[in-house]
Symmetry: C2
Subunit: 298 residues, 2 copies
């Protein structure tokens, strides 16, 4: 059995309590080929230094997580969100990665991710803050506003469909097919998609849409982690190690490979139990799971 | 503003702690036109008597909840499941409803709904118990086995797509489009679909698939309740009163009406706070919400 970890990437959310340097050390020591940093870990050391830390360890940057949250109907808030996304594009360019993951954001009615819904306007039975169709249209418009800037910087906006569990408060992009429809007007080198098993494993159209993403040249990243039950009290942090849950990694990985994907495989896990472990132990576990459940099918 | 409740139906799961007679009384007293009983409430009084209780109150039976859970790969377990579904078909016929809701069931790897996943077979990186494609094929086969029996009894198998949150442990039918694809080989009078807002509100293809369901004559039931956050500890019981969450009832109800649906609107809520109230209070709340958020768009 191959134990080649050169395509395995540690997403820094998986070792949430570690600094960038600590995460990079753990990944490099275990023989991984790449890391996928989150912006918080990059910004706390500064983007130039972050790039150096990763480069000096001999690792690639598989992607930068994340831009997005740009669906608001408020013009001022939208301007702030677009500015922040332009900054994320510059950060990705400086880090030397082509792939900037975007989580587009939710409904105006979502006061904060995971919290309750805003009440309806007085005396109204309908509510523009719950208009999912219009919110998705705004997501499309904002992607269009960012695309030229991303292209100038040699960075691709990578649309992430999130599990429909998060459609209200985190991402109105819920399927890979929808992400590809939104990407369609743009050059494949400027707007792509990511397959994150946690978010898309259930989709009856997944095989066809992964093939389509490959054929269109938009398959920008492959992230793996497992769907475990029962959900954690904070469902966002229910993502489990590969092999602990229900996802059929053999099948989905085959589909990704057949679609021509030759990039890194990022492990991105949000889970309190995983975060409580030392980074070296977490990396050892994810390398073991990758070797058993993903690599043979890649 | 109209307050005509003749198309409003109380699903007995909404008043979980009430007997069938108590639920029927509450619905009739408030002027509702129908109830949608669950099988437990029917079986505890006997199906003939249940039919009489509902008829004597002057109410229709909008649907019977529910058959299904027939995706197992174990032949003996499948035979038991099919027997139980045949019984559900007979119960629906006796109750005088044409619509039997089916929740098809989950993966073999789901030891019990909401509980953890079975481990992988020793030494294996893949696992047939996690094969979603094969599980969906079995669901199709079992629907085919039940269809003639349903047709003989004048009952329609109504496929319910469940929110992808439940794809592992409760239903491998996750979208309305997938449900319609599974229904396609059968007479529309024998296999139909239900639109339950909780399960499908997030679907980017919802408008098109509701229109398709109407055009094909398969739109058998419309169930409403709201997607509320944060999720309850048991996510199944996170369903809220219409208007308490994020669902755009005005838009979805318009789509259902435009698709030609003229049947009952069932309110099916699973929530501990709702169950703690007296049935009359729950029915008053759902009538108020229906009048404000659903009826004007129907």
């Amino acid at each position: 059995m191959s134990t080649d970890l050169s395509r395995l990437s540690l997403n820094t959310a998986t070792t949430k309590r570690a600094s960038l340097a600590e995460a990079v050390d753990a990944a490099a020591a275990a023989g991984l080929g790449a890391v996928g940093p989150w912006r918080d870990r990059v910004q706390e050391v500064g983007v130039e230094k972050a790039a150096r830390i990763i480069r000096d360890a001999g690792l690639r940057v598989s992607s930068l997580c994340r831009g997005g949250f740009l669906t608001t109907s408020d013009d001022d808030a939208a301007a702030v969100a677009l500015d922040d996304n332009r900054r994320a594009i510059r950060e990705a360019a400086t880090l030397g990665t082509h792939e900037l993951i975007l989580v587009v954001g939710g409904l105006d009615a979502a006061s904060a991710p995971g919290a309750g819904a805003r009440p309806y306007p007085a005396g109204r039975g309908d509510d523009p803050a719950r208009d999912l169709v219009a919110t998705r249209r705004r997501a499309a418009d904002r992607i269009g506003e960012l695309a030229p800037y991303a292209a100038e910087h040699g960075v691709r906006l990578v649309l992430e469909p999130l599990h429909p569990l998060f459609a209200a408060d985190r991402a109105v992009i819920s399927t890979l097919g929808q992400a590809l429809d939104l990407a369609a007007p743009f050059d494949p080198d400027v707007v792509g998609v990511v397959v994150d098993t946690y978010h898309v494993w259930w989709d009856p159209d997944l095989h066809a849409q992964i093939a389509r993403a490959g054929a269109e040249g938009r398959l920008a990243a492959y992230q793996v982690c497992d769907w475990v039950l029962p959900l954690a009290a904070e469902p966002l942090n229910s993502r489990g190690h590969v092999g602990d849950g229900y996802v059929d990694f053999a099948t989905i990985t085959r589909w990704v490979a057949e679609a021509g994907y030759t990039g890194d495989v990022e492990v991105e896990i949000f889970h309190e139990d995983v975060w409580a472990r030392p980074p070296a132990q977490t990396v050892a576990t994810l390398a073991d799971r990758y070797t058993r459940h993903v690599l043979p099918y890649l």
